[in-house]
């Protein structure tokens, strides 16, 4: 199949455009990376752009020695992995039945769940419920309220609905019952949507900042995102109210903040390529012949 001249131009054009976009997305990362390896004076005078100046590991050593960054990294991993497992289980439990046309109350339930996507009780009522269940200060207080994201659930449901009914028919004829159908046929065919939701939930739990601050009391359980975001926030949002409290303004140099940001996003950079291989084409092909 030779591609036409026009197609070739388009292809090159797209490649170039994507390159430009990639550069625009990489530039901030490179800037922060450079700052994290640069000397204090160079950073403070704003001289560091895309290349470190006065290369030093000082920011990283200050970060690793002066804060609980390693412990909070581990906490982040635990909270994310646990959360993803719980959320995937609950989401499948919701999405699969709702994807079957013969499920009793399907329309009502869908509407009910959709309702909660826009209506929430707010921070204090949710906190009171979680507290009454005794979950405060454990990761369950993050996992349980976040067990299902209705948005994600609807995406999964939509995917399940898109699986050709012939496949299900064929399996039933072979004697497959409901649960086997789910585990042996549907889920393996759903790797793209599962990978997508794993990524969505994973990123969601990893980035979770406010909920951890509110529901977790012990700072030893704080996750890496909380640690780093506090550093970033302390120098901007509340400068007015911090005027009485000058301890804050001094303590977090730009270099350490930048090192923290790199540590924070590094897992995200590593995990996406790993999941990308599950976005495989045409898994459903050839499953039903004739």
């Amino acid at each position: 199949m030779r591609e036409s001249y026009g197609d070739k131009i388009t292809r090159i054009g797209i490649s170039i455009l994507l390159l430009l976009i990639s550069i625009s997305c990489l530039a901030p990362v490179i800037n922060i990376l450079s700052i994290s390896f640069s000397g204090k004076q160079a950073v403070e005078t704003g001289k560091v752009l895309l290349w470190p100046i006065d290369v030093t590991l000082q920011s990283y050593s200050a970060l690793f020695e002066g804060t609980r960054v390693l412990a909070s990294l581990w906490n982040g991993v635990v909270m994310t992995v646990g959360g993803v497992l719980i959320s995937m289980v609950f989401t499948i439990c919701a999405a699969y039945p709702l994807s079957k046309g013969y499920f009793y109350g399907r329309r009502t339930f869908t509407l009910m769940l959709l309702f909660t996507m826009v209506f929430t009780g707010g921070l204090i009522p949710t906190y009171l419920v979680v507290k009454s269940l005794g979950l405060i200060d454990s990761y369950w207080s993050i996992w349980m309220p976040g067990a299902v994201s209705t948005y994600n659930m609807l995406i999964m449901r939509s995917y399940f609905e898109g699986i050709e009914p012939e496949i299900e028919e064929a399996a039933r004829i072979d004697g497959c019952r409901e649960m086997s159908l789910l585990f042996r046929i549907v889920l393996p065919l759903s790797m793209p949507v599962i990978a997508t939701l794993v990524l969505f939930y994973g990123v969601g739990y990893w980035n979770n900042f406010m909920n951890v601050l509110i529901y977790i009391n012990s700072t030893e359980k704080y996750t890496i995102t909380v640690l780093i975001q506090q550093m970033i926030a302390s120098q901007s949002l509340l400068t007015e109210s911090l005027a009485n409290d000058t301890t804050a303004l001094e303590l977090v140099p730009e270099g350490i903040k930048s090192a923290g940001i790199i540590v924070l996003i590094l897992p995200m950079v590593l995990i996406y390529p790993f999941l990308q291989k599950y976005f495989v084409k045409g898994v459903m092909l050839g499953s039903v012949k004739g």
């Binding site: 388009t10 797209i14 699969y96 948005y151 997508t196």
Partner: protein, 302 residues
């Protein structure tokens, strides 16, 4: 015959019901129970009396909010900015996904995919700072070039039109990579046989995209569109807070920042909950509306 098939139907449903039960329990306990707390918007809530015993004021909070013409302006701003976000921000990830999908070399594809989703992880404190420097009057490369050419730098951040463009643009840039994920996943479910068939018919790349690819992800597109209706009154606090300045305050004050301002000097839980309730009602109506429209195209959610 009828009772037999009814029985069979019931049998098929039982495992489904068992499966759905924990999910339902989750929703009832962690979503519906707290919704009871919305009663705060009809009370003058204080900690001492608690959620259900604070003095009842009926619609007074709503009156207080809506009689203030500032509230109306803020709702207008929020609508404006988020509609713009939607109009620009909705197609961009789709186009980007199509572009990425068309890349043949797997390493380049993975590289672009990963790089493009990174901005999603930066907080607006960082991105805002960079955007401001990029468009500032004195320290940006852009304005240095403009100054050389035209003599005077352009106040991008201080004029409403350019500020809104930068606002929407930076928001789209930050999220577009992450938003492509769902489309990239959807694209994998289009059978290559369809592409081969259309290529055999002599279709160019463009035609293939129009007749094979887009219809293939139509379901996903409509789903995301309907659900985006639910976010129409959400303009993120962080983005506004880090990009705004006094000159554009007329357009940059939105519901989320208003709630923050109201909350500065005191509890104000009732007012902010009332405002949030209003947001939710509007969002729900819009989702239902979008769904009705989608029904006409046979792609409704429910």
């Amino acid at each position: 015959m009828k009772s037999a098939s009814k029985k069979a139907l019931f049998k098929k449903n039982v495992p489904l019901m068992l499966m759905f039960a924990p999910a339902l329990a989750y929703y009832l306990i962690f979503r519906y129970l707290p919704i009871g707390g919305l009663v705060i918007s009809f009370e003058n809530y204080n900690f001492f009396d608690g959620v259900f015993h604070s003095p009842w004021v009926g619609f007074k909070n709503f009156e207080m909010l809506f009689s203030n013409d500032k509230t109306l302006r803020i709702i207008w701003n929020t609508l404006w900015l988020s509609v713009l976000n939607l109009v620009v921000g909705f197609p961009v990830p789709i186009i980007l996904a199509l572009m990425i999908n068309s890349v043949r070399r797997s390493w380049y594809k993975r590289f672009v995919q990963t790089v493009v989703y990174l901005p999603h992880f930066f907080s607006w404190v960082i991105v805002g700072g960079m955007v401001i420097t990029l468009f500032s009057m004195e320290s940006s490369f852009l304005n240095h070039w403009i100054e050389d050419k035209y003599g005077e730098p352009y106040p991008f951040l201080y004029k409403t039109f350019s500020w809104v463009t930068i606002f929407v643009g930076s928001g789209v840039w930050k999220e577009m990579g992450f938003s492509t994920i769902i489309y990239l996943a959807a694209l994998t479910s289009i059978s290559p046989a369809l592409y081969e068939a259309s290529a055999l018919d002599g279709a160019s790349k463009w035609k293939q995209t129009w007749h094979v690819t887009l219809p293939g992800i139509r379901g996903t597109i409509i789903l995301v569109l309907i659900l985006s209706m639910g976010r129409v009154l959400e303009v993120g606090f962080d983005q506004i807070y880090n990009l705004r300045n006094a000159m554009v305050s007329d357009i940059s004050e939105v519901i989320s920042t208003y709630i923050y301002t109201l909350g500065i000097q005191g509890g104000q839980f009732s007012l902010t909950t009332a405002l949030g309730l209003f947001e939710s009602v509007v969002a729900f109506i819009l989702i239902l509306g979008a769904n009705l429209i989608a029904k006409k195209f046979n792609s409704n959610l429910f």
